[in-house]
Every structure is written in structure tokens, then in C-alpha cells.
């Protein structure tokens, strides 16, 4: 948007929203929405607190392990699905079904089978994120220009060379997009998992704050989680932009 010829970056609109938040908070219209400045203050008291650090530690553990598994298995399966059409047809149906299903419904089953701790959270993160990673990897691999593969073969590339020097880079834009979406879904997974389990991690903290009507603390925690999800997503988006220069001339 431009005002009188000056281009105003979009991120600044958030300042407008924060201002609105502050005003609404001060007017005390909705009990749930405290003034923005109170929330910022709460950030400083929440973040260093032991409870928060414990919660974040366990949450991050679950997230990291679950995502790691999802990346390894998702990319691996995606490549197989993309390179071998039979595998693609066999597994494609399932990957598609679970990619758009309300996986939240499965979490109660996980709680019954795996308990109320780390394993359930890890599996939840894994299940939320692996499908989109596999799917986008498959699409990326399928879209590799056949000429590039023929070119590799014509110069005697080994299967390893073909995959790591050609297919990987040619599929990278889609791969990165899948990873970014997977990261976002992974964060949703760990939060939903913890909300349902309710006795661990940030889910527990959310429960605690809302039960005790500590609204500024609640929103402060929410901002922290939102910020993490956003930061992770934008990190990958940065790499996506780095490879964008060749994404269109493939």
C-alpha cells in the first residue's frame, strides 16, 4: 500500500492491529482481551518462570523428535512414491486421506494406547505433519524434468548421483514447501496434543492460565507459541526464496 507515494510495508499493519488491541483492552469491552501492553509485560514475567521453561522444554522435545521422524519418513516415502508409480498409487490413497482428515480425532486413541506423556505427543506431531511432507515430496519428484534425468543417465550418472545431484535439487522447491507446511502442522499437532492431554507442556499452561483467568499471561504464552510457529515457517520460506530463482526455469 502506498500513501502519498510512500510505500508502506505490510508488516506495519500489525502495529495498527496492536494499537486496536490496546484500545479494546483498555476499554474493557471483552474480559478476555486485556490491553496489549499488559500482555507484553506478562511476557517478561512468564518467559523466565520455571514453569514456562519446563513446559517449553518438554514441548520442544516432543516437537523436535516428532518432526525429525516426519521429515525422514515423509521425504523417504515421498521420493519412493514419486519415483515408483506403483508405490505412488498404492500409498497415495492413504496419504491423501490422512492429509485432509481431522487427525485431532485420533489423539484420544493415542492417549489410550500410549498414555499421557511424551510418546503420545511425539506420535501426534508425527501424524500431523508427515502426510503433507510426503505428498509435496512426491509432487516435486514427479515434476522433475525428464530431460534432466535422461541427461544424467546419458553421462553415466549412478543412481546415487541421479538422486542427490539432480532429483534432489530439481524437487527442492516443492520439498521445501512441504517441509514448511509440515512444520506448521507439527506445531498445531503438539499444541492440540497437549490441550487434549492437558497435564503436560504448554497445553497444561494454557489450561492453568485460563482456569485462573490470568488473561495477560495466557495471551503472552499464545504469542510465544505463535511466534515460534511463524519463525519456523519463515525460516523455511527464506530457503524457498533462495531457490526460487530456478523454480520457474525447470
Amino acid at each position: 500500500m502506498t500513501i502519498r507515494g510512500y510505500r508502506i510495508p505490510m508488516a506495519l499493519s500489525l502495529l495498527v492491529w496492536f494499537a486496536i488491541w490496546e484500545i479494546v483492552g483498555r476499554l474493557d469491552w471483552v474480559f478476555l482481551i486485556p490491553p496489549f501492553t499488559d500482555v507484553i509485560n506478562a511476557l517478561f514475567s512468564v518467559i523466565p518462570s520455571a514453569r514456562f521453561i519446563d513446559a517449553v522444554t518438554i514441548t520442544f522435545q516432543a516437537f523436535a523428535i516428532g518432526m525429525g521422524l516426519a521429515l525422514v519418513i515423509g521425504i523417504g516415502v515421498g521420493v519412493l512414491m514419486g519415483r515408483i508409480p506403483a508405490v505412488g498409487s498404492l500409498m497415495g490413497m492413504w496419504v491423501n486421506i490422512f492429509e485432509s482428515s481431522p487427525l485431532t480425532a485420533i489423539v484420544p486413541a493415542l492417549m489410550v494406547l500410549l498414555g499421557f506423556g511424551l510418546p503420545t505427543m511425539i506420535v501426534t506431531v508425527f501424524l500431523f505433519s508427515v502426510w503433507v511432507i510426503a505428498l509435496d515430496t512426491q509432487v516435486g519428484v514427479q515434476r522433475v524434468n525428464p530431460s534432466l534425468i535422461e541427461m544424467g543417465r546419458s553421462f553415466g550418472a549412478s543412481r546415487r548421483d541421479l538422486h542427490f545431484k539432480i532429483i534432489f535439487f530439481a524437487a527442492l522447491p516443492e520439498l521445501l514447501a512441504g517441509i514448511r507446511l509440515g512444520l506448521i502442522r507439527g506445531v498445531k499437532g503438539v499444541v492440540i496434543g497437549q490441550l487434549l492431554i492437558a497435564v503436560v507442556g504448554v497445553g497444561y499452561l494454557f489450561e492453568l492460565y485460563s482456569r485462573n483467568f490470568l488473561m495477560p499471561e495466557f495471551w503472552a504464552l499464545l504469542i510465544v507459541v505463535f511466534a515460534f510457529a511463524f519463525a519456523a515457517s519463515e525460516t523455511i520460506a527464506y530457503f524457498e526464496r533462495k531457490v526460487a530463482f530456478y523454480a520457474t526455469t525447470r
Binding site: 530456478y246 520457474t248 525447470r250
Partner: protein, 259 residues
């Protein structure tokens, strides 16, 4: 005339038959020789299996029946004595020109310093030195094909297989490329099998033109353009021999197009 390496680089194509899944018979007994050191062109109506034949020679496709013999041995896949130039260039868009040209050598495990030196030599021959560190998306179509050609030359194969290499290049550059190709081949003696749609191009560059029928394709006729290539290019393109040859081939093809 032997090629620079002294090895027999004639390509013998014997009774090549190719059937695709679904029952499409592209080739039905294609037989011809591409004599070493010469440029043989495959020409024919669209869908006549020219590219299929070329890819079988390259080892990128498997024949249903028949054989391709190179240096006395049947072709069973790609090999170091054959290099391919692609119609859509097949450059890695994430790599610089220098890396792309050296890629064939890279796949063979040639150490970096050596392969970059080799690559630079051929980049220079293609007049692309200024663009050594550029990426494909920064180059025009003609320049990209020069990179593809440099890459194929850098591996020092005896046999060059070119799949409509100038089709994606604009018309004005195309003529220049044809002349450059001839000049290049006079220095680097290679056996070339060339596929094109353009009769003028075929007659201009070739020692031998193999005309294929419409699919399922056979060899209809083999023509040797009796052209004196000593003169200036514009004289060649207006010489009697050239024009007659072009018209002769056109007559032959017309029969298949109207069938």
C-alpha cells in the same frame, strides 16, 4: 578418416524395431550406418521415430528388436563414447554455466580443478567465457544450447547425438549455429547423428541424410548431398546442388505427409 582417438566410431544400426506399451510401433526394421567422422542426419515426418532411434543409439531407450553396434559391441545403455545434446537443453538451472559444462566429467569423478579447466576450454570455444558464472535463467535460448553443446564436447566422446538441437533457438541464430557446427566439427573429428525437422538444415550440415517413413518407420532412402562446402555459406545455400537436394528430399517426404 578416423576420429581423433583412432577408434572405429561408426554407428551400425541393424533392423531396429521399437514397440511402445499400448501397441504403438514406432520403428519397424530401421537399418543404416553412420560412418565415422561424418554427420548423418535423420529426417522424416512428425512421429516418424527419429528421436526414438536417436535415444536407442544413446542407450536411453531399449529396442524391442534389432541392434545398434558401436565399436563392434552392441549398445546396452549409455556409454562414455557417446554424448547427447538435448532439444530442451537439459541444463541444471541451479548450477552455473561452468558447473553445467563440467557435469559429464563430474559424474565420471574427474577432480574439480581438472574438470573446470576442461570446461573452461570448451566454454571459450563457444564464446561464453564472460558467462561462466551465470545461471541458465540468465541466458538466452541460443546461449543455453551452446552450454549443452560444450558439455557434450567436454567429455570427449567419439560420437555426438544431437536431438533437434537448434529447434528451440530462434531462426536468425539457427543459421549461425549451423555454420558454427560445421566449423567445430572440422576441428573436432566426431561421428555425429543429427535429428531435425528442417530439410534445409539437413542438407546444409550433413554428409548423409537418412529419410525415415512415417511410423512404423523404416529407412526410405539415404541421400548424400553432393555439395561443395568450400564456398561461402550464402553461396552454398543458393547453389544448384543444394537446392536440388532439398527439393528431392521434400518430394520424398511429401508422399508420406499426404498419405
Amino acid at each position: 578418416m578416423t576420429t581423433g582417438n583412432g577408434r572405429d566410431a561408426t554407428v551400425h544400426v541393424r533392423n531396429l524395431t521399437k514397440e511402445f506399451p499400448g501397441g504403438i510401433r514406432a520403428l519397424e526394421g530401421v537399418t543404416f550406418d553412420a560412418p565415422e567422422g561424418e554427420l548423418t542426419t535423420l529426417i522424416g515426418p512428425s512421429g516418424s521415430g527419429k528421436t526414438t532411434t536417436l535415444k536407442i543409439i544413446a542407450g536411453l531407450l531399449e529396442a524391442t528388436a534389432g541392434d545398434v553396434l558401436v565399436q563392434g559391441r552392441p549398445v546396452r545403455g549409455p556409454g562414455p563414447e557417446r554424448a547427447f545434446v538435448f532439444q530442451d537443453f537439459a541444463l541444471m538451472p541451479w548450477a552455473t554455466v561452468l558447473r553445467n559444462v563440467g557435469f559429464g566429467l563430474e559424474l565420471r569423478g574427474v577432480p574439480k580443478a581438472k574438470r573446470e579447466a576442461e570446461a573452461r576450454e570448451y566454454i571459450a570455444k563457444m564464446n561464453l567465457t564472460a558467462f561462466e558464472d551465470a545461471y541458465p535463467h540468465q541466458l538466452s535460448g541460443g546461449m543455453r544450447q551452446r552450454v549443452g553443446l560444450a558439455r557434450a564436447l567436454a567429455v570427449d566422446a567419439d560420437i555426438l547425438l544431437m536431438d533437434e538441437p537448434f529447434a528451440s533457438v530462434d531462426e536468425q541464430i539457427r543459421r549461425m549455429f549451423q555454420e558454427d557446427l560445421l566449423r567445430l566439427l572440422s576441428e573436432e573429428k566426431k561421428t555425429v547423428v543429427f535429428v531435425t525437422h528442417s530439410i534445409e538444415e539437413a542438407v546444409y550440415v550433413s554428409d548423409q541424410v537418412v529419410i525415415l517413413t512415417r511410423g512404423p518407420a523404416r529407412v526410405s532412402k539415404v541421400v548424400r548431398p553432393a555439395i561443395d562446402r568450400g564456398g561461402a555459406s550464402q553461396d552454398i545455400r543458393r547453389s544448384r546442388a543444394y537446392l536440388d537436394c532439398v527439393e528431392g528430399i521434400w518430394d520424398e517426404l511429401r508422399g508420406y505427409l499426404e498419405a
